[in-house]
């Protein structure tokens, strides 16, 4: 019987070790590729989710804008404003004020989730609501501010002024969000800006339309101030 050459055995061992090393290297490479693919997948999933969120936000903004400009009836514009605040923002308690140019005061017009009884008429610059309208900028309470019901002394959590070219038409004061809504989102901030810009213009156009027929002179004053 022929004796095996120890050198052959050594060669075979070396070949096996080399094969094992290459296999390990290949496995390491594949694991790296897999991790890279997983990371890439996660990035794409995140971007997809972000795109979906953007799409949803745009849909909300489009619907809000479309509803505001879908009618030229002042009552229907007011109804659209309320619907947007309830259904898109998710407010449970809010008050819509209208600006009376004669007395130059903000008068509570519609209260959702609350009674208007006892709510004061406000001068421009008076209180949080009057100040927001006077400045013509959306006001949002610092985070952690307590929600409540409207009262003479209660501050809202959001005030959306309704002004066109600096002429006040009214304001939306939100006092409480729906229980299931944890807080204000980026979309809510965009909706407030949209309401500030478009709700006021929709109201103005509706009042202009109404003015074509017949309206008391005092209601034309804010329109005249803008159009002149």
């Amino acid at each position: 019987m022929a004796r095996s050459d120890p050198r052959d055995s050594c060669d075979q061992d070396a070949a096996l070790i080399d094969l094992f090393a290459r296999g390990s290297e290949l496995a390491r490479h594949l694991i790296e590729r897999l991790r890279s693919a997983e990371a890439s997948n996660a990035r794409w999933a995140e971007r997809h989710a972000e795109t979906e969120r953007c799409h949803d936000d745009l849909a909300n903004l489009f619907v809000a804008s479309d509803q505001l400009h879908a009618t030229r009836d002042p009552d229907e514009v007011v109804a659209a404003i309320c619907e947007i605040v309830i259904n898109l923002v998710g407010a449970e308690i809010f008050v819509l004020h209208t600006f009376d140019p004669e007395s130059e005061r903000l008068i509570p017009l519609i209260g959702e989730g609350c009674s208007l009884g006892g709510l004061p008429e406000l001068a421009l610059g008076e209180g949080t609501i009057g100040q927001a309208v006077a400045r013509g900028r959306v006001w949002i309470a610092p985070s952690g501010s307590a929600e409540g019901t409207p009262a003479a002394a209660a501050d809202p959590i959001v005030v959306v002024p309704l002004c066109v070219r600096g002429v006040p038409l009214g304001a939306i004061a939100i006092y409480k969000l729906l229980d299931q809504k944890p807080g204000l989102s980026e979309l809510d901030h965009q909706l407030f800006d949209l309401l500030a810009q478009h709700a006021s213009k929709a109201l103005l156009v509706a009042r202009l339309e109404e003015a074509k027929e017949s309206v008391p002179a005092r209601r034309l004053q804010p329109i005249d101030r803008i159009t002149n």
Binding site: H55, V63, D66, E83, I84, N87, L88, G90, L178, Q180
Partner: protein, 126 residues
């Protein structure tokens, strides 16, 4: 495959438009709108629908009444229904589920949640 037909029974034009926007992202669906419970009942009994979204608070006939009428009709007993509620409180939701609704959405609604519920109730792949 034939289009899936979805009925939205909701008095708020804003909500209807938002739901239509969300549901249109699914391919092969036909969407019909009804503006109150009575209108919804007329449509649901005169045509075939694979899924109905029903608001609870509506004029003429509310969503709870509509659900009970749908479930009392043997031809519609199995039709999936998703209710839309405003309140975070569970009362309306629980009453709707007890009457036979399959799912619920709370306002303000999110499009991805609407799609997820619709796909689930229509048994469509995600």
């Amino acid at each position: 495959m034939a289009d899936q037909r979805i009925l939205i029974v909701e008095d708020s034009p804003t909500m209807r438009q938002l739901l239509v926007f969300a549901l249109k992202r699914m391919k092969g669906v036909q969407i019909v709108e009804a503006q109150d419970g009575m209108d919804g009942l007329r449509k649901v009994t005169s045509d075939h629908f694979d899924l109905v979204f029903v608001d609870i608070n509506m004029p003429v006939m509310d969503g709870l009444k509509l659900i009970s009428l749908i479930r009392s009709d043997s031809n519609l007993a199995e039709m999936p229904i998703c209710v839309i509620t405003t309140e975070g409180a569970n009362d309306d939701r629980e009453r709707a589920i007890a009457l036979g609704a399959n799912e619920y959405l709370t306002k303000p609604i999110q499009a991805n949640k609407v799609l997820s519920i619709a796909r689930d109730l229509l048994k469509l792949p995600v």
